[in-house]
């Protein structure tokens, strides 16, 4: 049920940032529509009891009223003391759904049917046990590349009676790095001497290493034809080579000729991913920031992060 009551905007300054314990100051509780309907029913019962002077009717009305009041405390208690210990958001590519991983602990007693959501995003509901910290994964859309701070996390519950909604808002301070979405483009690994081509071949000074055989296409240099294979009667094949790059191969911002910044970043991203897949060492040269050559996951992320944050780097 969509609640029509204002949420969370009320107290921003004092609101908790992670790690946060939900306490009295931050938890709000209000009857929802079902609670109001229940009160209406109780009023009807009360009036009927008064009019017919029916003591049992009074008893039931007051029992239900008392229970509703007790429910208020229970619903509040379901949130009170809940701790959001830490949050983490792994980097994603632009357009993907990022996930805010929240580590939640429930000291003292179990919590039931607690809902977490980032504003305007999907809600995740579950129970939090007091014995083990739970991980709550909150999806959120990451559209733009860059350092994205996911919106406030709203923690909400109506347990146990469903007559009240109790909520609190937590502001995670972590940012999520959104990499530019990779798209193929002419982003070329260059060093000052060698050039890598679209067809995967690279030429330049340096030791040439045999890469692979592929079908002969008219226009290929005759010097590259594998005559050995031809002499065996296997047909015409062209040899392709790669040059072992030395320590000088970079994705160079200046050299790559794509007019649009975003497209350029996307292309470089694609290039990095490819190089990483092919286990080729690479570096990144951006205006004002150079990342020396390297290989591996950490290096990849470092480079992608630089792309994401361009033109800022920190």
């Amino acid at each position: 049920m969509k609640s029509l009551f204002p949420h969370g905007e009320i107290v921003k300054k004092k609101s908790a940032s992670v790690p946060a314990t939900l306490g009295q100051k931050h938890i709000y509780i209000v009857p929802n529509w079902y609670g109001l309907l229940f009160l209406l029913i109780l009023s009807g019962m009360l009036i009927g009891s008064i009019n017919y002077n029916n003591n049992l009717g009074f008893l039931l009305t007051f029992l239900l009223g008392g229970m509703m009041l007790v429910g208020l405390f229970h619903t509040h208690k379901n949130l009170k003391g809940l701790r959001i210990v830490s949050v983490k958001a792994d980097p994603v590519f632009s357009g993907d759904t990022a996930v805010l991983e929240c580590l939640v602990s429930a000291p003292g007693h179990d919590r039931a049917a607690v809902s977490f959501c980032i504003k305007n995003e999907e809600t995740v509901t579950g129970d939090i046990s007091r014995n083990a910290d739970s991980v709550v994964n909150l999806p959120f859309a990451a559209e733009k590349r860059g350092a994205f701070k996911p919106g406030p996390v709203q923690v909400k519950t109506t347990f146990p009676l469903g007559l009240y909604v109790s909520w609190s808002v937590v502001y995670p301070q972590k940012t999520c790095i959104v990499y530019p979405a990779p798209s193929p483009g002419p982003a070329l690994l260059t060093n000052d001497n060698a050039v890598s081509h679209d067809n995967g071949e690279t030429t330049g000074p340096g030791v040439e290493d045999f890469q692979e055989l592929r079908m002969y296409q008219p226009g290929d240099s005759l010097q590259r034809v594998s005559w050995k294979a031809f002499s065996r009667g296997q047909g015409l094949y062209t040899k392709t080579f790669t040059v072992q790059f030395g320590s000088d191969s970079f994705f160079d911002w200046e050299r790559i000729r794509i007019p649009d910044t975003e497209k350029k970043l996307s292309a470089i991203c694609h290039g990095i991913l490819q190089a990483h897949r092919q286990k080729i060492p690479y570096g990144l040269k951006l205006p004002g920031h150079t990342i020396p050559q390297g290989k591996g996951e950490t290096h990849k992320h470092r480079c992608l992060k630089a792309l994401a944050l361009y033109p800022d780097f920190y």
Binding site: N55, G66, V70, G81
Partner: protein, 652 residues
């Protein structure tokens, strides 16, 4: 497509509705009960199987059939039972729509509503206890709807816990919520309960009452219980005879003369609800309780017929003198001009024999004693000259026959006489120290006016069946005449045992009725007075007092609940100290990862093989005990705190 999660809710809702509706089952038309059972069975079957929930067309069809059935049964009346049937049918149909959360919540609210309809119809201890049970079950269903992943057992326990927590507030509100006299707007209340005596007495009326096992009223004696021959409960006086029946006749003076007497008895009567306004008092009452008046013939007339049980305290003199006769009482000599000539002649004979009234009365009693009269519940029908037929031909009758004929004879011989209808005797309940007077103790007797003595009770039945007076109606009648419930005291031990159980339950139930059911405006005033708050009928003071009490209860409840969460706060303190400890280590570069458990962390520290490693291990052990184990002893939290604070890296 139906999801499993939707079906999960159906069972607890069904159970809640069934439990709520159960007390009504016998009172509802049979077709409604069967219809509900069929509908619920169908829904239960669906919840268990792969079949989808009924679609919109099916639901509308079933609703239409239900409405049709209701209209056929009740027409368009909006009466009590029609309303309850409507709610029952709605309860039957509601589970069909368990699709959305809103539907399910409405179904549970409907269940609560059903519970209150039970309370309108029944009003005793049994239904009160059942009400608590129904509320617990329905609340469990409510909790389950809001937490479908949980177990129903847990939810039921949770529900019980909440009900218990709500009890104090319920009691306070019940006692202090302002009660008013009368109703908010004058809704005409239908007469309720067995009427007992009516305003006229025909031959056979009392006999009809005797076959009824209901309770007429209960009496708690504050003085020693009088002997059985004095237990005459005065109800209504019949002044006028028209040849066929005796009636009360109008008008009767509305204020009674004061009587003089001795052997004062104080007692409290709890009267069952009835359709007329007569209350019962031990012969002869001295005063009248509030909301009633003592009539000129010393009967008690309530201001309104009691729709529910009422209690009143009375004082009576069992030996009394009502004083001089009033002018208006002279109607006690009137007889119809013709009829029953034989009896009139007999009376005239007696008059000639005795000039003294008392002697005449003795003569009359002797006549009944020695002329083979028979006391029976089923006398033969009498003709037009009732008295003649009875006295000279049939000679068989119940107490009203004897009373009526005796009164006739008295009037015929010039002695003012009137018939009194009421009850005679009663059974003491051993468990509760009170007397139960049943409808089967109904009785009619005569009062004659004797100069110097006032109205004196004469019971002609004592002449014919003295056992009736000393031991009650069961011993006076022959066995084959007795209704079943009066036989059997010496039959089976089972019936004796059953009698004990009935007594026991009656005792509990009566206390319940006394303390609870009849609590209303006057009792509340009494309670407030006892609490020291004399408010008169100041309603606003009452309301203010109530609000203050409620606020006090709220604070008390809040305090208790927050203290309960102190348990979790204690764990918080432990957690805080642990974090402090981790920070200390972090400052030295031994950082604990956010999701790293304490044991892993301990291992990591141990690997470093530092002198403080042992102390750190101790701290972590204690932390685990406090946080994850049994919680340790009371002093351990403090000890933990000290250990953390004193932790240094240079220690050995």
């Amino acid at each position: 497509m139906v999801s499993d999660s939707e079906k999960r809710h159906i069972k607890p809702i069904l159970i809640a509705l069934i439990v709520a509706l159960l007390p009504q089952v016998l009172r509802l038309p049979l077709w409604i009960t069967c219809w509900c059972i069929w509908l619920w069975g169908y829904m239960y079957h669906i919840s268990r199987s792969q079949r989808p929930l009924p679609g919109r067309f099916t639901r509308r069809l079933l609703t239409g059939i239900s409405m049709l059935g209701l209209i056929l049964s009740f027409g368009y009346t909006i009466g009590g039972s029609a309303f309850i049937s409507l709610i029952a049918v709605m309860a039957g149909l509601k589970p069909l729509e368990a699709g959305t959360h809103r539907d399910r919540m409405v179904a549970v609210f409907l269940s609560y509503f059903l519970i209150i309809t039970n309370l309108i119809v029944f009003e005793n201890l049994a239904i009160t206890l059942y009400m608590f049970f129904s509320v617990a079950v329905t609340t469990a269903a409510l909790i389950h709807i809001n937490h479908p992943e949980g177990k129903i057992n847990h939810h039921f326990q949770y529900s019980l816990r909440m009900v218990v927590q709500a009890l104090p507030l319920m009691i306070i509100l019940f006692l202090l919520f302002p009660r008013i006299q009368g109703s908010l707007w004058g809704i005409k209340q239908r007469p309720y309960g067995y009427t007992g005596f009516s305003n006229s007495l025909s031959l056979g009326d009392v006999a009809r009452l005797v076959v009824n096992d209901d309770i007429a009223f209960r009496v708690e004696f504050e003085s020693p219980v009088p002997g059985s021959e004095k237990l005459y409960w005065r109800g209504i006086v019949f002044w006028t005879f028209n040849g066929r029946e005796w009636t009360r006749g109008y008008p009767v003076s509305e204020s009674a003369q004061t009587i003089s007497g001795k052997d004062e008895v104080s007692y409290i009567v709890t009267l069952e609800p009835r359709g007329n306004r007569w209350a019962f008092a031990l012969d002869m009452p001295v005063d009248s309780p509030p909301s009633s008046s003592l009539m000129g013939d010393h009967t008690l007339r309530l201001n309104q017929s009691p729709r529910k049980k009422i209690r009143y305290r009375l004082t009576s003199y069992t030996s009394y003198n009502t004083g001089e006769m009033n002018r208006w009482e002279e109607r006690a000599l009137r007889l119809p001009p013709h009829g029953n000539e034989q009896s009139r002649q007999l009376a005239a004979e007696w008059r000639s024999m005795h000039s003294d009234d008392e002697a005449l009365v003795s003569e009359a009693l002797g006549y009944f004693r020695s002329n083979n009269f028979i006391y029976t519940l089923k006398p033969p029908r009498l003709g037009g000259n009732q008295v003649d037929d009875f006295l000279f031909s049939e000679k068989k009758g119940f107490c009203e026959h004897y009373a009526a004929s005796f009164a006739f004879l008295m009037r015929a011989s010039g002695i003012p006489a009137r018939i009194v209808g009421g009850y005679m005797g009663g059974t003491m309940n051993p468990y509760g120290n009170y007397m139960i007077v049943h409808q089967s103790d109904a009785h009619a007797w005569v009062e004659v006016f004797l100069k110097g003595k006032g109205w004196v009770r004469i019971d002609p039945t004592s002449a014919v069946a003295p056992g009736r007076i000393s031991e009650g109606v069961a011993t006076a009648l022959s066995r084959d005449e007795l209704p079943a419930f009066l036989i059997g005291e010496d039959d089976l031990w089972l019936s004796d045992f059953w009698q004990q159980i009935k007594f026991g339950w009656d005792a509990i139930s009566t206390q319940w009725d006394i303390w609870f059911i009849s609590y209303s405006f006057w009792e509340q005033q009494a309670l407030l007075a006892w609490l020291g708050i004399v408010s008169g009928s100041n309603r606003w003071l009452n309301i203010t007092l109530l609000l203050v009490m409620c606020a006090a209860i709220l604070f008390a409840a809040g305090f208790i609940l927050f203290r309960a969460s102190r348990y979790s706060e204690k764990k918080d303190r432990v957690q805080d100290h642990y974090i402090e400890f981790c920070k200390k280590l972090a400052q030295k570069g031994i950082v604990r990862r956010p999701a790293q458990g304490p044991y892993d962390y301990a291992k990591m520290i141990k690997k470093l093989d530092q002198p403080f490693g042992e102390k750190a291990a101790d701290i972590i052990d204690l932390y685990v005990t406090l946080r994850y184990g049994e919680g340790g002893n009371a002093g351990d939290v403090g000890k933990f705190k000290i250990m953390v604070k004193n932790f240094r890296f240079e220690q050995k």
